[in-house]
């Protein structure tokens, strides 16, 4: 006979889901430290995550830099402070825009790809085929992809920041005629170590989050092709939500550190 629910069937199911996800994260972290390390697969995944996202990062970075600068100009112009544009743009990019927009772009591009790939492998028994061949799927599929996103999202963030900075420079150059050296000096002069450090922490946390949630969504897929679609969709939606929640938490922590 089935046991009665602890709270309600729905809450019990959600708690079981949280427990299963926690166990999955723990298994991934433990497996990361254990041999074998599948270096070739990690490199392959770094290529998939990094190189294949470059065109999208370039386009979104350039547009973000240009548009943000363009939209900020009227407000600063009303105070006669357009000379602050480089520092405003640089601070905005490093403190928030670059890590956040890059993470959202990666959640869409990389998260959906990983979710669909692993989801498809799950429903066609390819993951079970790995297991019966004595290959640990957590190690071979999840650890490699999570390492790749944790490493490549920060790299893409730095690249996105640079391209957006260039986009901002092109805009400022065309309106105010500012030189490259003056733009860089003005922009970077406003940054401190905590700004850069927090950007790196954000990018690493977001990268790990995208990888682990996309993998979880994929390996949890059920019900055939519909399940694969749900896995891809779940990977994007859940990782985007997690990124926003984590962004709020990280901002609070950094504000606390600044106030010390």
């Amino acid at each position: 006979m089935a046991e009665p629910p602890l709270f309600s069937a729905r809450i019990d199911r959600q708690l079981a889901g949280v427990h299963a996800f926690s166990a999955f994260v723990a298994a991934t972290l433990v497996s990361t430290a254990r041999r074998p390390f599948y270096a070739n697969e990690i490199l392959q995944q770094c290529y998939e995550v990094g190189v294949r996202t470059l065109p999208l990062a370039t386009l979104t970075g350039l547009i973000t830099g240009m548009v943000f600068t363009e939209q900020s100009r009227p407000s600063l112009a009303s105070f006669g402070a357009t000379s602050w544009l480089p520092s405003l743009v640089t601070l905005a990019l490093v403190r928030s825009l670059a890590p956040l927009v890059t993470a959202l772009v990666c959640a869409g591009k990389v998260g959906s790809s990983i979710g669909a790939e692993l989801g498809s492998m799950k429903v066609t028994e390819q993951i079970e085929a790995l297991t019966v061949s004595a290959v640990n799927p957590i190690k071979y599929l999840v650890v490699t992809r999570t390492i790749a996103t944790t490493f490549m999202v920060p790299v893409l963030t730095a690249y996105f920041g640079f391209v957006a900075f260039l986009g901002a420079y092109f805009n400022v150059r065309s309106h105010e005629g500012t030189s490259w050296i003056a733009f860089v000096k003005n922009g970077f002069g406003s940054l401190d170590v905590l700004d850069v450090g927090s950007a790196v922490v954000r990018a690493v946390v977001f990268g790990f989050t995208i990888g682990i949630i996309a993998c979880w969504s994929g390996v949890s897929a059920t019900h055939g092709t519909q399940g694969v679609g749900r896995a891809a969709n779940g990977a994007v939606v859940q990782s985007m939500l997690a990124i926003f929640v984590l962004e709020i938490l990280i901002v609070q922590v950094i504000s606390l550190v600044r106030s010390l």
Partner: protein
Amino acid sequence: MTEREVVVSIRGLEKSFGTNVVLRGVDLDLYRAENLVILGRSGTGKSVLIKILVGLIEPDAGTVVVLGQDVHALKRRELDALRVRLGFAFQHAALYDSMTVEENLGFPLRMNHPKMPEAEVRERIDDVLEAVGLPQTRHQMPSELSGGQRKRIGIARTLILRPEIMLYDEPTAGLDPSTCGEINDLILQVRERYRTSAIVITHDLTCARATGDRIGVLVEGQLLVVGTFDEVFANPDPRIQAFYDYNFIQGARA
């Protein structure tokens, strides 16, 4: 007469999914170099039985001893070492669709024997491709193969690790009668060539008669009877006779 070596011993196996009871106290022995067929209609827990055998599913109760080792008492590494000695041919082949046939075949070897010389890997790939009669598919992608070819390559991928026990999950499901015959022949050839024992899960009586030394019929989570094809279907139990009728081969009984 010398006693035959038992390579798989299952005792009191029980498994439920929620309120759905799938296996209710199954007892079973598989002997060395024997092909044992488990017959049953779809959804009767046949696949669950062999997935429990390789540790893919945890049973609720009972013991499964494979090649002298209690599967569900093993640590991860020990279980992996045992899995290398078992070959699991999936119902839909489960080929890695991002890899060519050659890469699919080489993958288990490269993962389990990373130091094996490349020449030996190629030699093993040639051997299993020849065994399944598909050397021309070496550079093809799984999506370019027919259903029968996919099943054969799936079997080849399990053979590459030279398993002692083969587990076939519905090897003829979804294939035309001619291809079913080829797969049945292949199952017999695999035993001859690689000296394997095998459990064949199927609902296809022709496959059962062609490949099985002994046949067990799984009905409502229990093995009703185990014996030769003729012994099993001489049993008057209406559930076994209904299964026989279900396969529409009454005319072939005599």
